[in-house]
């Protein structure tokens, strides 16, 4: 798997698109969880959200570089 991708001759880390993808997934998940009212039941909603993002991002990287 390439570690860097070239965009018009500039090398960008390959995890950048992965990060953007995890932001999108996180957004979708956020919407579902907000709809279900999960965030109102947890102690620190922002931390939960951050941890979810980290988990998604890590899972994507893990799957990509397997």
């Amino acid at each position: 798997m390439p570690r860097e991708i070239a965009v018009f001759g500039v090398l960008l880390p390959a995890i950048l698109p992965l990060f953007l993808a995890s932001l999108l997934i996180q957004g979708a998940l956020d919407w579902v969880l907000g709809l279900a009212g999960v965030y109102r039941r947890v102690w620190h909603p922002a931390l939960v959200r951050l941890c979810l993002l980290v988990c998604i991002f890590a899972a994507l990287i893990g799957a990509y570089y397997q």
């Binding site: 001759g9 907000g34 709809l35 965030y39 620190h44 922002a46 951050l50």
Partner: protein, 718 residues
């Protein structure tokens, strides 16, 4: 941030000295955490974000670490929702600005005049856009404008470097945004969501108290106007709080819809209440009328319901009951009134119709409030977003100012050929764009300028006393901490916020270490001088070019209000009422922001004008809706004529057009009455009744506007 009041203790036994001491300490502690503690936590969060971003930028070997640090300072806002909102819009603006810079440099490589013209045009357009929106959406436009300058100007001589510059900028801003969002959202967050609920509750209490006081005639007309101005500001504040809370985890979409609906219901109730209040006021002014005596008990019935609603502990009144009681009261009053002359009958009909409408609006408003307060999910039928409106003259003026600031700066740079002025130019473009969405741009720039001037010696000392001796990162943090901490601390004080912003930005520009430090006193001083002159230029531009064209300037607001009223009579009907309502309130809010807590007589006159136009506009829109829904008939034609005459009056408000409206209204009355008598369907009957009320309120408020107008017999709507 006032300390909480001491809880009352009424212990019978005298307390020991130690107990008193502990109690006193606890009180002091609570007061401190509510005021100074909050501010220090904020400073700590800012510092954590700034130095984490700087460290990461070093670690990742980015080209200009201070951009990442600057971003964290720009995102330093009190609540986590606001930080996330600004982060989102900052990213958006940066991406657009980078794209624009690439385009311009590709189009005009090494052609300074053309490039500067293009950049000036772009900045002007972006600043116009910024003036048209509110909150962070506006910031995103500002950023798109000055990011293009930040990338385009340095790559004037090296067009090939532009892509690298753009990528660097994007990366650094992205890094700063991620760090700032994580820090402000996860460490001791202050939630915008909770603040929105506090605003909602305060609004609810103030509005109910206000209505009660007005109904019992305890407020002078001037106070009523002031209250309306405050409510307009409230509406905008709630909207901006909602926009920030939207980005927080605990905020759901359903909540957004409910808040939109709440704001909408509030505006509707406020307008109805204003019309009702004006009518009662007129009746009182006209002298003894049997209507006043008939209406008073109904008024106090509603006032009692409002008081019961506000009373703590007591069960909330059932508004359906209140409405039913009101209807019964009205029926009794109508029976008691018996047969009277027509003008009295018309006044009475209008007043009771307005009272019923107000009770209906109030019931909706209160229901929405309780839904919000108890976090109940409600099905909100048609929630509509808030529409801002800026007078076009001001939009254009801000664009012209930003563009000419950039052009003037570029000309000076070109002529002096002083390399450091590149920095200055960037500052010029940033602050001429930022200041244009402020009601007092000169005050803002002055604050930032003071911050810069204050920062110059401090930054010099920091750099050449402390930073120069730092060997590793922790020492560097220690060396640079004081100046940034001071800046962030100043930011927490609303009166000195601009100074704090200036100080931190200045520090981040000159002190923030680079990958390869080189300490050059002359270059340092030149950069400092250039930055300060870069902020002096927008100051000069704002005081010279169109100094009267600032946000919320009353003449512009006044003419924009007339144009909105004309729009109410002309524009397509789809969602017109909502748009009209929002825009008029937004204009009043701008007026409030510019006029401050004690508006002068002229500003009050504009408020009065705005409220009257609001009343007229609502009536016109209702009439147009009725016209749209009915088949051709004499009543419809007469109403259409009224609308046309009113549009002409809104276009040029003078005696002649006013008189034409009055006669059209007088003509329309009998036709509508006749149609009402023949109408079988109850829903259409209600709408015709509404149209009659509208005709009456148009007639009377126009009479108020033109005291010298020929007074016709007021049996118009007969």
């Amino acid at each position: 941030m006032t300390p909480e009041p001491a809880p009352a203790h009424h212990n019978k036994q005298p307390r020991s000295a130690a107990q008193t001491g502990v109690h006193w300490l606890a009180l002091q502690w609570r007061g401190w955490t509510a005021s100074e503690g909050e501010r220090l936590i904020f400073v700590a969060k800012c510092m954590a974000a700034a130095f984490t971003a700087l460290w990461l930028a070093f670690r990742l070997g980015l080209d200009s670490p201070n951009t990442a640090m600057t971003t964290t300072f720009i995102l330093a806002l009190p609540s986590s929702g606001m930080v996330l909102e600004k982060a989102f819009y900052r990213m958006l603006g940066t991406v657009v600005g980078c794209a624009a810079a690439l385009l311009f440099v590709a189009l005009f490589p090494q052609q300074a005049p053309l490039l500067f013209l293009a950049l000036a045009l772009w900045t002007g357009v972006c600043t116009c856009g910024a003036a048209m929106y509110r909150n962070q959406q506006s910031y995103s436009f500002v950023l798109a404008g000055y990011t293009a300058c930040m990338i385009g100007i340095p790559s004037l001589d090296h067009p090939t470097a532009v892509f690298n510059l753009a990528v660097t900028r994007l990366t650094e801003v992205g890094l700063g945004i991620i760090v700032a969002s994580v820090v402000h959202d996860a460490l001791f967050p202050r939630h915008a969501n909770r603040q929105v609920m506090v605003t909602v509750q305060a609004r609810y209490q103030r509005f109910l108290t206000f209505c009660g006081e007005v109904m019992e005639q305890r407020l002078a007309p001037a106070e009523v106007e002031l209250n309306h101005l405050r409510f307009a500001a409230d509406i905008a504040a709630l909207e901006s709080g909602r926009a920030a809370a939207f980005f927080e985890a605990a905020h759901s979409r359903a909540h957004t819809r409910q808040l939109h609906a709440f704001n909408h219901a509030f505006m509707t109730a406020l307008t109805t209440f204003y019309t009702l209040h004006r009518l009662t006021h007129r009746l009182h002014a006209a002298g003894i009328s049997p209507v006043v005596a008939m209406i008073e008990p109904l008024d106090s019935m509603l006032a009692a319901a409002l008081r019961a609603e506000l009373a703590p502990g007591a069960p909330a009144p059932d508004w359906r009951r209140v409405q039913a009681d009101l209807a019964a009261g009205i029926a009794a009053a109508r029976a008691a009134l018996g047969s009277v002359e027509r003008p009295v009958r018309i006044d009475f009909d209008t007043a009771v119709e307005l009272l019923e409408r107000f009770a209906r609006d109030m019931a909706a408003f209160v229901a929405l409030y309780h839904g919000l307060a108890q976090q109940r999910k409600m099905q909100v039928s048609d929630p509509l977003a808030y529409h801002p409106k800026t007078p076009p003259g001001l939009v254009l003026a801000s664009g012209v100012r930003a563009a000419s600031a950039l052009l003037a700066g570029a000309a000076i740079w070109y002529w002096l050929d002083w390399p450091y002025l590149g920095n200055a130019l960037v500052m010029t473009s940033i602050f001429s764009a930022l200041a244009s969405s402020s009601p007092k741009p000169l005050l803002l720039i002055k604050g930032v300028l003071i911050g810069f001037v204050l920062g110059a010696p401090l930054a010099f000392l920091t750099e050449f006393w402390w930073v120069i001796r730092a060997d590793d990162y922790p020492q560097l943090v220690l060396a640079a901490l004081p100046i940034f901490a001071l800046g962030c601390y100043l930011m927490t004080d609303p009166r000195r916020a601009a100074i704090g912003v200036g100080l931190t930005l200045f520090g981040a520009q000159v002190v923030a270490p680079l990958n390869q430090m080189h300490y050059d006193g002359e270059a340092f001083l030149s950069t400092e001088l250039a930055l300060i002159s870069g902020i002096l230029l927008p100051f000069a531009i704002f005081s010279v070019i169109l100094p009267e064209h600032t946000m919320g300037q009353k003449d512009h607001v006044a003419s924009a209000l007339w144009r909105e009223a004309l729009g109410a009579a002309k524009a397509p009907l789809f969602r017109l009422k909502h748009r009209f309502d929002n825009r008029v309130r937004d204009l009043l809010n701008q007026l409030n922001a510019a006029a401050g807590p004690m508006p002068n007589e002229e500003a009050r006159a504009v408020v009065r004008q705005g409220l009257t136009l609001l009343e007229l506009g609502h009536s016109v829109i209702e009439m147009r809706q009725l016209i749209d829904a009915s088949a051709p008939s004499p009543a419809r034609a007469a109403l259409a004529l009224c609308v046309r005459q009113l549009a002409a009056y809104f276009r040029s408000p003078d005696q002649r057009h006013g008189a034409a409206v009055l006669s059209a209204v007088l003509d329309a009355g009998p036709h509508v009455r006749a149609a009402l008598a023949e109408e079988p369907s109850p829903t259409r009957k209600l709408r015709l009744q509404t149209a009659l009320t509208d005709l009456h309120s148009i007639y009377t408020s126009l009479l108020d506007q033109m005291p010298a107008a020929p007074l016709g017999e007021p049996d118009h709507a007969a």
